[in-house]
Amino acid sequence: MNFYGFIYKIDEFCSYDNPWKIRKEEETSEKYGVYPDKRNVEQLIKNSIINLDKPPGPTSHEVAFWVKKMFNVNKVGHGGTLEPLTWGGVIPR
């Protein structure tokens, strides 16, 4: 049984190698949910990661706030602060 291609793409993203063990044969119904690689932009904006090159100067919190304003979304997080001079990844959610 082969899974939907995107499932393998997740592990390819960071070269993670851990083989799958199948417990039961099962299919997914097209009626529910959306394949992550088929999301439209509106859906993508709500559930994505941006690997952002933060400019030196503003803090991670400031940059996260700017991104939030740019996308007009409610929730934006970042992957950790440093002293003001480095970058953090930002997820608009």
Binding site: F6, K24, P36, L52
Partner: protein
């Protein structure tokens, strides 16, 4: 986010030494910081200033030019680079400080595929004003990529909404899984690849193999909204 970036960081920093030292002594001093070190967070820091133990996986002296030294450091989260530079200065006997710092890796996220704020702004402009969404689609990575680097469990369609409403992952709903140990952080996804939740394994994958019922994980965070999948319980 913190679950995925807690896996270790990598930095490149410029250290300025306050006296002339030869490269060999400098390299020796820097090497002393490899392994477990004691560190008290600096005055300007965002955590409580108490002595902590942090593991430095690797530290390399990449280049020396005059009194400036370029270091590459791989360490646990919560290790202060400024402090490493300062402490190296104390060991050298004449002091040193950090001039510049850049984080090159945070968990599974590296400098590969980095985008700038300008690129984000341009992509948004193209999408809003020119109806061109290709740039935005390139920049926005599906959040499921954050689950790379941890073992994953695929659950069937019927289990998804129960989890969205707060249920745990139960053995009968598991379609497939990758190898994991009890206590590992695991990602739960659908057969379409959508992220459902992140949790801590209650059993090992070997135990799961022969399980017919019971809890597989204790969930920490649910990712999928309610009612995307049908309600399958009474």
């Amino acid at each position: 986010m913190s679950y995925t970036t807690n896996a270790g960081k990598e930095y490149v920093c410029v250290m300025q030494v306050h006296c002339d030292v030869d490269e060999k002594t400098l390299a020796e001093v820097v090497k002393k910081f490899e392994g477990e070190i004691y560190q008290r967070p600096p005055v300007r820091s965002s955590v409580k200033r108490r002595l902590r133990i942090r593991r430095v996986k690797a530290i390399d002296l990449m280049e020396v030019k005059g009194r400036l030294a370029l270091l590459r450091i791989e360490s646990e989260p919560g290790t202060y680079m400024r402090k490493i530079c300062h402490d190296a200065g104390i060991l050298l006997g004449c002091g040193a400080h950090m001039r510049e710092l850049r984080r090159t890796r945070s968990g599974i996220f590296t400098e590969k595929g980095l985008v700038t704020l300008q690129e984000v702004s341009e992509a948004l402009y193209l999408w809003r004003n020119c109806k061109d969404e290709s740039e935005l689609k390139r920049i926005l990575l599906p959040m499921e990529f954050a689950l790379c680097g941890m073992p994953k469990i695929i659950v069937d369609d019927m289990a998804v909404n129960a989890i969205a409403y707060g249920a745990q992952v139960m053995a009968p709903g598991v379609v497939a899984y990758q190898k994991f140990n009890k206590g590992d952080l695991v990602g739960v996804i659908t057969l379409k690849g959508e992220g459902v939740a992140i949790g801590v394994a209650e059993v090992s994958s070997e135990e799961l193999e022969n399980m017919e019922k019971g809890e597989v994980t204790r969930l920490k965070r649910v990712l999928i909204p309610r009612d995307v999948y049908p309600k399958a319980w009474k």
